[in-house]
Amino acid sequence: MTQRVKNPTLRVILVTLDQVFYIARMGISVRGIGRVILGFLDTLGGIVTLLVQTLLNLLRPPYRFRLMIAQAEVAGWKSLPLIGITLGFLGMIVILELHFQLSRLLHNTSLVPGVAGLLFFREFGPTVVAAMMAAKVGAGFTAEIGSMNTTDQIDALKLMGVSPVHYLAVPRFVGCMSMQVCMSIIGLFCCIAAGYLASLPEFNLQSYISIMNSYVGWPDFINLILKAVGLGWVVPIVSCHYGFRCRGGARGVGDATTRAVVTAILIIIVIDFTITAIADKLVVAAMSFL
């Protein structure tokens, strides 16, 4: 059919569309969907087994503290500028938005810092920090381990009697987990400080802090730590998983890195949802326990 079309551009479009449908049809066929589901389960299985392996290796001597500190530095110090900037802007945006919403809704904007504080503690602190860690630190781990994989360094490790999970995954897990908790707290302060800057004309420091204190209490702080830990394992484990399984060549490393970041962010969102949905019950239980 496409041969009869005279106009060259139109014919190129039709030929390409035909090619695209051909590629898409492969995806939509039963075998295609089957492959996607299997791929999803395989990834999930791989991630869970790596998590279990890492936890088991965690307790096995020799403990390589030097490596853990090195990874902590990569996960913490190097990602500080990114966390600071993004969380800072986020704080300002939230204050501006709430100001706009509440002024039109309840016509009194005196409670803006309170609501903002709630959002910072419960939502924007841990989740956005986790997402940024996935982008900066997760991509870095996958790229590093991926390129080690393509140049046979992982096989070399195995041959020298050192388990790659123990030498590569454990230090990154410990470093990244601990740094994620610290970064959540630092990110929180960036949010609050930047939020104060954005709310300046209307609030001075004293009133800003007092209103925020009246709404935010200890349960929200526990919620923050809970989420930081709950999300903390995702970045190192998912990125190491994709790094170990990375195909050969520069293209392999590129693909592995992009998939690692996307999967990490998706898992972060799903876990964040589960924690948020059952947060109230958890916090109440934690409070009664204290």
């Binding site: 300002m92 809704l105 991509a139 693909d255 890195t257």
Partner: protein
């Protein structure tokens, strides 16, 4: 010992400013070269011939294959936002709860949907384009394109640039719809609020202005994102670890660019809104 300490303290401010500039210098030069790159890409869009074939394939690679990711992320984030607002609004007493639908949707519309979709697209597409272009550069394919008489900007960058910008706009709309549905669903399931009640309050709050604001924001993110990812892709050095580094810095730069642009627009929007409101007030509408 005291003298050494004093000496150190005395130097500290200079060291910090030194660090700041050593860190700031390259950042500013990068922003400069990126905007130059952006200008070259815009110029070469209008050069004959336009790569139709590549453009369509990129539309498929960028857009169609990102739909599942955007759907999944949108659904859950919509639910999260509505739960958080429910908790926040409940502090104001029962009266405020009826506005939950409006506040959540408006929050999603103006802020969360564009930013969320852009961050997902930055990860799913931006990093993919950087990885693909970096791989082509590392394996000398970009040189091959030049040696065969084609301009890499027009052949590689322009199709991807347009595909990302158009697809981000469409995916934001899709993400918005799914997120609102997620919000309504979680409000109904977790807090027992009727679906119709949830949607009733939307009409009053989510004015067309907010819709325009969100759409404009997603277009701007699209342009920012495609410039950063194409630039980082073509400026790679070193072998396969060079590719990994390029992808990493693309993600970081896009994240910062998205939040910075978001803040600027939020600031502009609030200014213009006040102007528009006083204008409306003046006109007694």
């Amino acid at each position: 010992m005291i003298k050494r300490l004093f000496n150190y303290l005395w130097q500290l401010p200079f060291m910090v400013t030194g660090h700041l500039f050593t860190w700031l210098g390259p950042v500013i030069s990068e922003i400069g070269s990126m905007s130059l790159f952006f200008w070259q890409v815009i110029k070469s869009i209008f050069h004959r011939p336009f790569e139709v074939r590549e453009f369509i394939i990129q539309l498929y690679q960028v857009g169609v294959r990102s739909i599942p990711v955007v759907l999944l992320a949108g659904l859950f984030v919509g639910a999260i936002v509505s739960i958080q607002f429910h908790y926040a609004l409940s502090q104001f007493g029962a009266g405020a709860l009826q506005y939950l639908g409006g506040v959540t949707t408006s929050g999603l519309l103006r802020e969360v949907a564009p930013v969320l979709v852009s961050v997902m697209i930055a990860a799913r597409v931006g990093a993919y384009i950087t990885a693909e272009l970096a791989t082509m550069k590392v394996t000398e394919q970009v040189d091959a394109v030049r040696c065969l008489g084609a301009d890499p900007l027009r052949f590689l960058v322009v199709p991807r640039f347009l595909a990302v910008t158009i697809m981000i706009f469409i995916l934001t709309i899709l993400g918005l719809i799914i997120a609102t549905a997620g919000g309504a669903l979680s409000a109904y399931l977790l807090t027992g609020m009727g679906i119709s009640k949830y949607f009733a309050s939307i009409r009053s709050l989510a004015a067309a202005w907010a819709l325009f604001n969100g759409m404009f924001k997603s277009l701007l993110f699209g342009v920012l994102l495609s410039t950063v990812s194409c630039y980082k892709g073509l400026n790679t050095d070193g072998g396969s670890e060079g590719v990994g580094r390029a992808v990493n810095s693309c993600l970081v730069t896009s994240a910062i660019a998205i939040f910075l642009a978001d803040y600027i627009i939020a600031r502009l929007a609030s200014l213009t809104f006040e102007v528009a409101e006083s204008f409306l007030f003046f006109m007694e509408i």
